[in-house]
């Protein structure tokens, strides 16, 4: 679609390609809208709502990553209502999720003057780290449920469908079906999910072990099948019969 239409973003009137989203049109116009769940190579789902903007005539705030522009649309990306809404989302996220490995989100929290202690009684989500395979670990205490991992495991890249949401509401978590260990799922360990995770919830196992203080030499001694073979050799030499 090469047709362009006229829209107004933050008091500036610009021409934008018809069919583009508010996020794309704003980018073209040099206006940056913050995003978390959005990824250029994943299907946008409007899950995190950080990209919300105010559209004149619309009752609710609109997620810029999925809403398409219309001719004559008047958009405010930094109105009071938008800022308050984004700040609240940051405060809610910070109260329940470990954002220590999300420098981009932390920078935005700072930028929006969000009060990370606004909800002191909120229950932090603290599921245990899942270390069930030799390639990567899953630390869902850091998961903000952006859905990128689920999407690249499905139609956005791999067509493997090993993971999805489980639970509802506060209990929602990314999981294999019936929470089976990853090797028993359809997972092919391509790690596309690790590649798009924005918060360090998914990370290569060797990186995780290094962070836990193991040296490269120690890490290389942790190979399961070599360990087993070594044990077997020792058993055989101890008892040759």
């Amino acid at each position: 679609m090469s047709d362009t239409i006229r829209i107004t973003i933050d008091q500036t009137t610009v021409q934008a390609a018809a069919g583009s989203t508010i996020l794309q049109a704003a980018r073209e116009a040099g206006i940056s809208i913050p995003t978390i769940c959005y990824h250029d190579h994943c299907t946008a789902n409007g899950l995190c709502r950080i990209c919300v903007v105010e559209v004149e005539g619309a009752r609710t705030l609109q997620p810029a990553c999925v809403v398409q522009i219309r001719d004559g649309m008047v958009i405010h990306t930094r109105s009071e209502r938008v800022i308050r809404s984004r700040r609240t989302i940051f405060e809610l996220l910070a109260s329940t999720v470990d954002l220590s490995e999300s420098p981009e989100i932390q920078a935005m929290i700072h930028e929006y003057h969000a009060d990370v202690y606004r909800y002191p009684d909120a229950e932090t989500r603290l599921p245990a780290v899942i270390d069930d395979n030799p390639m990567y670990i899953r630390d869902y205490a850091k998961c903000i449920l952006c859905w990128r991992c689920v999407q690249v495991c499905a139609e956005d890249a791999q067509y493997t469908y090993a993971i999805n949401f489980s639970g509802r509401g506060y209990e929602t978590q990314i999981s294999t079906f019936y929470e089976i260990p990853m090797p028993e799922s359809t997972c092919v360990f391509c790690g596309q999910c690790v590649g798009v995770c924005p918060t360090g919830a998914l990370k290569p196992k060797r990186q995780w072990l290094l962070e836990m203080g193991y040296t490269p030499d120690e890490i290389m001694n942790l190979t399961r099948s070599q360990r087993q073979r070594r044990k077997r050799r020792e058993e055989i030499s101890a008892n040759p019969s």
């Binding site: 250029d40 190579h41 220590s100 490995e101 420098p103 395979n133 030799p134 390639m135 990567y136 690249v152 139609e155 890249a157 791999q158 067509y159 493997t160 089976i180 090797p183 028993e184 799922s185 359809t186 997972c187 092919v188 360990f189 391509c190 790690g191 596309q192 690790v194 590649g195 360090g200 990370k203 290569p204 196992k205 060797r206 990186q207 290094l210 962070e211 490269p216 290389m220 001694n221 190979t223 399961r224 099948s225 070599q226 087993q228 073979r229 077997r232």
Partner: protein, 720 residues
């Protein structure tokens, strides 16, 4: 959170897709791999090997010191030494002087026919160019080959016969521009995972129709419009029957045939006998499916054919590939975007090693060695007296081993390959390895072949050197040094140059062929001076994005698809075909057909991946068998079985699965504990000299747990 000290872009060392990687390093430890989402090859996607499979670099068993065997080895009594106690650690000088002395002694006594070398499709273009230069220019032999002989040799020969070229005609990512594509003898979800993603997207998002023709019910069948479950070895009848239908129903492209092909009449006559009825009888595929497939492919706007080793690894591999080429020529589905003849190359640099002349019949750039003009060109390039280079075609991989005997090949130099896992009929290979007088291994690990060697030269891994790989769609991409070579290991090109100079000195050669390169970039430029397809490639041009050959000039943009205007041989040639059964057909004694291949988590002879955590995901050999065959033989999922062919016998666990069809069993060839190639046949295709890996006949019987050679806690897996 761990911060990388540096992030270095490079190219994946595993399969022919050639994915772009970014290695994250701290304290010389690669702890993470990512891929740029704007990569033209893989769009940020990787497979398990590319993202996690690089830890072999740090494996404790890696050898990083030159070694010489303590016990001198004699021809005929050569033994395998896996244990380091059987080797003496030596200096590079001692190792190279010893190697040079022994090679020169044999060369001066027995001449060029006694010398042979296996180049390596894992090594860079520069490494391979130099190693073939070393053996051609210094030892005057064309006994230079590599594992392409064991993979796509028949595809290359067929493409040369029909078209005059030897590579994928189109770019893999163009699959989304097809509206129909045929996939045969290929299991891309495991062997070319990123191309498989593009194929799945082509079907799911872009509406392409997929026709799978394969004796295994592979994962891609889930995405197929038509699945033709053929019996192993019935490729020529099935594809020729499709040609028969296209001819009978007037679905062929008359204009294309007239303008761009020759030998149509003779070919058309030879297709007369390949009726769908005949094909059904030979292949077991319903004739209606064959007819439908023919119509679907012929009436496509853009039709493409993708194939891998199920086509060439056969005693009629050249004919198999020709039957596919005939189809593309008949319909004109070649020479445009989204069409083409696309053999998916296996190794990261098998295209490049072939381009670089690691082949017995060709100098770099597919220039025939028995052509006087070509020989003169290279004599000039390498400062050799006129008539100095050998004009005789050399021996192929399998022929080199067969020629190991007094008066034949005496010295073998192996860079990175592992014939003791990858050759067919390994019991025979073992005898031949034992008969060698001198064997050099240049590798990262003492593998099953290196264990036979007299001297072991520790090579740097792909992350420890500079160079280029050429991927399956002819894209020349940079390989970068990320960490210093481990221990005393050195890049292959450096080892070769150092050794070649020592040998030249001992031979008192008046002129050196030249080995004083400061950087691999100079090596590629030297090759480009005599190889037009690479003439325009410079390192500075491929720092960010690789270029697709041919790149004839320094300002040429590269070639995404071939044959738009003309074929390299002028007009493409149709070939008449006959049906030839496999060398072995099932009988009462050996009722099942064994197909061999790879699994997602491992690579070839296992030298790399079995020294990686990848081995934890797939720790033992498993034989796929169909539930009906398993029930008949009393075999349960996970129970041990003994598999026996005319050449050998192995014991491993069975995996009862519909991924293979009735009458066909599948065993991956990565596992030394149950080496599938003990069973395979060394019967060769007459034109391409490629062995029949995909169709040995076997019998399968239940075995006991005690007979298993490697008992490990099994790893339950849920993937397809």
């Amino acid at each position: 959170m761990l911060k990388a000290e540096k992030v270095v872009p490079t190219t994946c060392p595993y399969c022919g897709v050639g994915c772009n990687l970014e290695l994250h390093v701290r304290d010389d430890f690669i702890f993470k791999v990512t891929s740029p989402f704007d990569s033209v090859v893989n769009h940020g996607n990787l497979c398990v090997k590319g993202r996690f499979g690089y830890d072999f670099i740090y494996n404790k068993e890696r050898v990083t010191v030159p070694l010489i065997r303590k016990q001198p080895q004699k021809a005929g009594q050569r033994t395998q030494a896996f244990d380091r106690s059987e080797w003496r650690e030596v200096s590079w000088d001692e190792a190279l002087d010893y190697t040079a002395d022994r090679l020169v002694e044999i060369y001066q006594r027995d001449g060029s026919k006694a010398m042979a070398v296996y180049c390596c499709a894992k090594a860079t273009n520069e490494d391979n160019y130099l190693l073939q230069k070393f053996f051609r220019a210094v030892f005057r032999t064309n006994n230079v080959d590599h594992c392409t002989r064991l993979c796509h040799a028949a595809s290359v020969v067929a493409l040369q016969m029909a078209i005059g070229s030897a590579a994928m005609s189109n770019t893999a990512a163009e699959v989304k521009d097809c509206d129909v594509f045929i996939l045969t003898g290929s299991n891309p979800t495991e062997n070319h995972p990123i191309i498989a993603l593009q194929m799945k997207a082509a079907v799911q998002k872009y509406g392409a129709k997929l026709i799978v023709v394969d004796p295994r019910r592979i994962e891609m069948v889930n995405y197929a419009s038509l699945y033709l479950p053929i019996r192993p070895g019935s490729d020529v009848p099935v594809f020729s029957a499709m040609a028969h239908v296209i001819l009978k129903e007037n679905l062929y492209n008359r204009q294309f045939i007239e303008e761009r092909t020759e030998n149509f009449e003779e070919f058309a006559a030879s297709m007369e006998k390949f009726t769908p009825e005949f094909a059904e009888q030979v292949s077991g595929v319903d004739r209606q499916l064959i007819i439908e497939a023919a119509r679907m492919y012929a009436t496509a706007r853009n039709g493409a054919i993708f194939w891998a080793l199920g086509i060439p690894e056969s005693t009629h591999g050249t004919a198999n590939a020709l039957s596919l080429i005939n189809l593309a020529l008949l319909t004109g589905h070649v020479g445009r975007k989204g069409t083409g003849l696309n053999p998916l190359r296996g190794q990261n640099n098998v295209q490049g090693a072939s381009d670089s002349g690691a082949m017995p019949w060709h100098y770099p750039g597919y220039q025939a060695v028995d052509n006087e003009e070509n020989a003169r060109r290279w004599e000039e390039a390498w400062h050799i007296e006129p008539g100095g280079l050998n004009r005789q075609r050399g021996l192929t991989t399998t022929e080199i081993l067969a020629a190991v005997h007094p008066g034949g090949v005496r010295a073998l130099y192996i860079m990175g390959e592992n014939p003791m896992m990858s050759e067919p009929n390994l019991n025979h290979t073992r005898k031949k390895m034992q008969e060698l007088e001198f064997l050099v291994a240049q590798d990262l690990f003492i593998n099953e072949s290196g264990a036979f060697a007299d001297v072991f030269l520790p090579a740097a891994s792909w992350a420890e050197k500079e160079g280029t790989f050429t991927n399956t769609d002819r894209r020349v991409q940079r390989v970068r040094q990320v960490i210093p070579p481990r221990g005393q290991s050195r890049p292959d090109w450096e080892i070769i140059c150092d050794l070649a100079k020592r040998v030249e000195h001992r031979l008192n050669r008046p002129h050196s062929a030249y080995w004083d390169y400061q950087h691999p970039a100079e090596i590629l430029e030297e090759m480009g001076r005599c190889v037009l397809d690479y003439a325009g490639i410079r390192y500075e041009r491929i720092e960010k994005v690789g270029l697709q050959t041919p790149v004839p000039t320094p300002d040429h943009p590269g070639t995404p698809f071939l044959y738009g205007e003309r074929f390299p041989r002028g007009k493409a040639k149709f070939h008449s075909l006959e049906y030839t059964p496999n060398a072995e057909m099932p009988d009462e004694e050996y009722p099942l057909v064994l197909s061999t291949g790879r699994v997602l988590e491992h690579w070839h002879g296992g030298t790399l991946t079995r020294h990686s955590w990848m081995d934890d995901l797939f720790p033992e050999a498993l034989m796929d068998i169909h539930p009906a065959d398993a029930a008949r033989l009393g075999i349960k999922d996970g129970s041990p079985v003994r598999v026996t062919s005319r050449r050998g016998s192995i014991v491993l666990r069975a995996k009862v699965t519909t991924k293979t069809n009735i009458g066909v069993v599948f065993i991956p060839f990565h596992f030394r504990e149950a080496a599938a190639n003990l069973l395979t046949s060394d019967a060769l295709d007459p034109q391409a000299r490629i062995p029949e890996y995909k169709a040995a006949v076997v019998r399968v019987a239940p075995a006991s747990e005690e007979e298993l050679t490697a008992v490990l806690e099994s790893q339950p897996r849920g993937r397809f």
